[in-house]
């Protein structure tokens, strides 16, 4: 999941979550630049999904204010689209300078401070997503599609760029590179229960792990060392359970914190995995977005998979959002 949020009172109380998926229906797209459907979809049954929010091309992710999950942010090609009433109404909160937004992260110390990765550089809001400014100054490369705001330390942000991971310790006002592979970082996640643990999926260099809060990184899983990994996930209640997925890689799972890995994609219709997420309400349940096949779910860490709807989808991300507060 691209959403990195501090542990809020809602989460701590065990509030149930709703599952959302950003997807474009490309399987039947022929002689057209437009998918047959697209947007943010909310799961409302075993295989049922319904469009949630505006039907915007290039929706890549969804985030919520950890202290008020009625406040939602959509990451879209057109910019940031924000709702204050859990999706009943929406407002585009970015202008023409900002496009191709891919992921959000709320600051651990200030829920009004939000960061976003865009393919033209990182942006920041200091008013809960109502307005945004570029915070790319000082970055040698600006392309980014994933980021993490540290769950514990306010103002600490890790940004995955076209050339490795950059760290800010002053709320994205300045950046410095960390010891990471100098390739495009496709996905970054931080463990909910062991915040020093982070996992990164890269373009062409497989999976990398950090045990020191993102200061240094080491490769894991020789079996996917040259893969493009679009999906990485860490089980919220057990930081030793990791999952990665990518193009021609299927799903690979580690239950020992990344020391050993097993292929767990045999039950999927193809090995092209674009997103993964552990379900916070069903420990061990893993969802996988399989290229143009849809969403699949496993309750045994990928040994078996069950179709879960969204057939034909090019999946971009999953998001679990606490159920409606009222």
């Amino acid at each position: 999941m691209a959403v990195s949020a501090p542990v809020s009172a809602l989460q701590a109380s065990g509030t149930a979550h709703e599952l959302f998926a950003a997807a474009s229906m490309t399987r039947s797209q022929r002689n057209s630049s437009i998918p047959t459907d697209w947007g943010m979809f909310r799961r409302d049954g075993r295989e049922g999904w319904s469009l949630f929010g505006p039907r915007i091309l290039g929706v890549a992710g969804l985030a919520y204010d950890p202290f008020n999950p009625d406040v939602l942010l959509l990451a879209a090609a057109d910019g940031v689209v924000r709702s204050e009433d859990r999706g009943r109404s929406w407002r585009l909160t970015t202008g023409w300078r900002i496009a191709d937004v891919r992921a959000f992260a709320f600051d651990a110390g200030d829920p009004l401070r939000v960061y976003a990765a865009t393919q033209w550089g990182p942006i920041r809001s200091v008013d809960g997503g109502r307005s945004w400014e570029s915070v790319a100054e000082g970055l040698p490369v600006r392309y980014s599609q994933t980021l993490v705001a540290d769950r514990i330390i306010p103002g600490r942000v890790l940004l995955g760029t076209e050339s490795g991971i950059f760290l800010s310790e002053d709320a994205a006002s300045s950046w410095r590179p960390v010891n990471s592979p100098p390739v495009t970082i496709l996905r970054l996640v931080q463990s909910a229960s062991r915040p020093a643990l982070l996992l990164a999926g890269t373009e062409g260099r497989g999976a990398w792990r950090s045990r020191d809060g993102g200061r240094s990184w080491q490769p894991v899983d020789p079996g996917s060392a040259k893969a493009n990994l679009y999906a990485v996930a860490i089980r919220a209640d057990d930081p030793d359970v990791l999952a990665i997925g990518g193009w021609a890689t299927g799903v690979r799972v580690s239950t020992d914190g990344g020391e050993t890995w097993s292929a767990r994609g045999a039950g999927l219709p193809n090995p092209w995995v674009q997103a993964l997420a552990f379900d916070p309400d069903h420990p061990g349940r893993l969802s996988a977005a399989v290229h143009e096949e849809g969403s699949y779910v496993s309750d045994d860490l990928g040994r078996t998979w069950t179709f879960a709807g969204l057939y034909g989808a090019y999946g971009h991300d999953y998001a679990f959002v606490p159920a409606a507060s009222r």
Binding site: T26, Q29, R30, N31, S32, S33, P54, R55, I56, L57, G58, A77, D78, V81, S89, W90, R91, L92, G95, W96, R97, I98, A99, D100, Q119, W120, G121, S134, A136, R142, Y143, E162, T184, L186, E203, N228, Y230, W247, A248, W272, Q274, H291, Y314
Partner: protein
């Protein structure tokens, strides 16, 4: 965004004539349907010009009335700010989707909306002058209405019927050149009330030829892999495009430097010769190094690396086909001096396609494959000589059958009327190249005399390294280059660093100018885009 300008056109033209039910339906759609802003500059210009007009037509509406939750005032201001920025960038750094025979319409139409229906007279005038700017850009690079030389984007049909394009339709409407065509985008321009300055028509109609036209454009915005030549414009990265056209009364030979200048549909160079019925002619000649790659796809699009080629080919169906006619290539280098042109290629083993395709259209006559290695042809009142460095084999156009078999309306509709009868010389070698020499037939006593003159021209090349080439043209200029090095003319490196925004007999503008001064035959016009809209109190973006 394509939906938007047509909606706005109906709303403007239909003011006072539409039923209440229609008006209510329009309002409902503007509230519930989220039109995409798109991913290219033409998309954005259409989007914001349309949003600007409809925000004025529905002034004072609150955010809840609009699809994006922003009020009419907010949408109007945002639209004006972007359009201002696009004009600033285009008139200082060159257009990104430059000189496209089809996509010129996607710029002229939104500007026509603004020129015709924008409420602010300052912005309305600025839009009108920006149409002048684009049409001047077209006028100096066209022959009988046909856009010629390097194009940012062009579809197969437009390549093979270069006089049946939106550019040609605009040329007939604005300047009376070429054939009259049925074209909805030209209709929008006509409805706007726009009239071009007289001096543009005189230029378009061909006075003062021959001349050399140089233009500095830029690539589409590069998201990744921007490269060492990239420069930043705000949040975006781009690299320079250096255009050169030799514009003769009987033909135009025009080129860019080659490379990945656009993600799809790039035409690096072409020859266009004068014909009597331009809308029906296939008067084109060019070479392409077909290329497709995730590197290119992710350079210009937001797609994932592994899916990018497939996703592009979902709409630009020929993108990943070896017989495609339009492509940029990172393995090509082209330069030109007058009516002579040199192309070099160095294709690595891992490249998707390893050949050069040279199109010999069905309109060429008396093609001669000379034992010297030169290939000669008559192109209307023009003689053409082409010398591939590595011999090729002849194939029919669309040899894979992709377009013939039906590849969607954009790409292949009515293929039988424009796609058949053309031959392609396919030359495959890791190091390769070619030389082109063009001359007006009137300069020679006979076709044989032209051939003899070309055979006698000094030409040397080597493919064991480089490739390298040295060629002395019919006019005695020496073109020389080694692949990857700055080409030389008469021993002097081409000065790309000083390439002007426009340089031709009618206008001279440096990069960064923000102005256009055109003069010809005692007539002139001047446009200054640096501050006009700002003077009206608009917020700077």
């Amino acid at each position: 965004m394509f939906w938007m300008y047509q909606m706005v056109m109906v709303m403007t033209a239909g003011q006072g004539r539409l039923s209440t039910a229609n008006e209510q339906r329009f309002d409902e759609l503007w509230r519930t349907y989220w039109p995409s802003r798109g991913d290219t500059e033409n998309h954005w210009v259409m989007y914001y010009a349309s949003l600007r007009i409809v925000s004025q037509l529905r002034a004072g509406r609150p955010g809840a009335w609009w699809f994006n939750g922003r009020s009419s005032d907010e949408n109007a201001a945002e639209s004006a700010a972007y359009i201002r920025e696009w004009i600033r960038v285009t008139t200082t750094q060159g257009q990104g989707e430059y000189d496209s025979p089809g996509y010129i319409g996607e710029y002229v139409v939104p500007l026509a909306l603004l020129a015709g229906w924008e409420a602010d007279p300052v912005r309305r005038d600025e839009a009108r002058r920006m149409i002048d700017y684009l049409l001047f850009d077209y006028a100096v690079d066209q022959i009988n209405g046909q856009y010629a030389g390097a194009h940012s984007r062009v579809y197969p049909r437009q390549i093979l019927l270069p006089g049946a394009t939106t550019a040609s339709a605009l040329g007939w409407l604005a300047f009376g050149v070429g054939d009259r065509l049925q074209n909805a985008q030209a209709v929008v321009l006509a409805l706007s009330g726009y009239r071009p300055p007289e001096v543009l028509a005189a230029i378009a109609q061909g006075a003062e030829r021959p001349y050399v036209n140089r233009e500095r454009k830029r690539t589409r915005w590069r998201i990744r892999h921007a490269g060492p030549d990239a420069f930043r414009v705000g949040e975006r990265l781009t690299t320079p495009v250096y255009k050169y056209s030799y514009v003769h009364p009987d033909f135009i030979l025009g080129s860019s430097q080659g490379g990945l200048l656009q993600p799809i549909q790039q035409q690096t160079w072409n020859l266009r010769w004068r014909v009597d019925a331009p809308s029906q002619a296939s008067n084109t000649f060019f070479t392409v190094q077909p290329h497709s790659s995730p590197y290119e796809g992710t350079m210009y699009f937001t797609f994932d690396w592994d899916a990018s080629t497939d996703v592009i080919a979902r709409s630009k169906v020929d993108y990943d086909s070896p017989d495609k006619l339009a492509s940029g290539s990172p393995y090509e280098q082209v330069f030109q001096e007058g009516p002579a042109l040199v192309g070099l290629s160095h294709i690595p083993p891992g490249a998707r396609f390893k050949h050069l395709s040279t199109l010999f259209s069905r309109d060429l006559r008396d093609v001669v494959e000379d034992p010297s290695g030169w290939i000669f042809a008559r192109a209307g009142a023009v003689y053409l000589a082409y010398r591939p460095f590595v011999a090729g084999q002849w194939k029919e156009n669309d040899w894979t059958g992709l377009l013939r078999g039906g590849a969607g309306a954009w790409i292949s509709s009515a293929f039988d009327t424009w796609g058949n009868g053309h031959r392609v010389l396919v030359s495959e070698a890791p190091r390769n190249g070619y030389v082109v020499q063009v001359a007006p037939a009137r300069d020679f006593a006979s076709y044989d005399a032209f051939q003899s003159a070309v055979r006698a021209l000094p030409l040397s090349f080597r493919l064991d390294r480089g490739p390298e080439v040295a060629f002395t043209t019919l006019s005695g200029r020496v073109l020389s280059a080694g692949y990857g090095e700055v080409p030389k003319v008469d021993g002097r490196p081409i000065d790309y660093g000083a390439w002007p925004l426009f340089d031709n007999p009618f206008a001279h503008e440096k990069v960064g100018s923000g102005q256009l001064s055109v003069s010809h035959g005692g007539k002139e016009f001047k446009s200054d885009f640096r501050s006009a809209a700002d003077a009206n109190g608009a917020k700077q973006p």
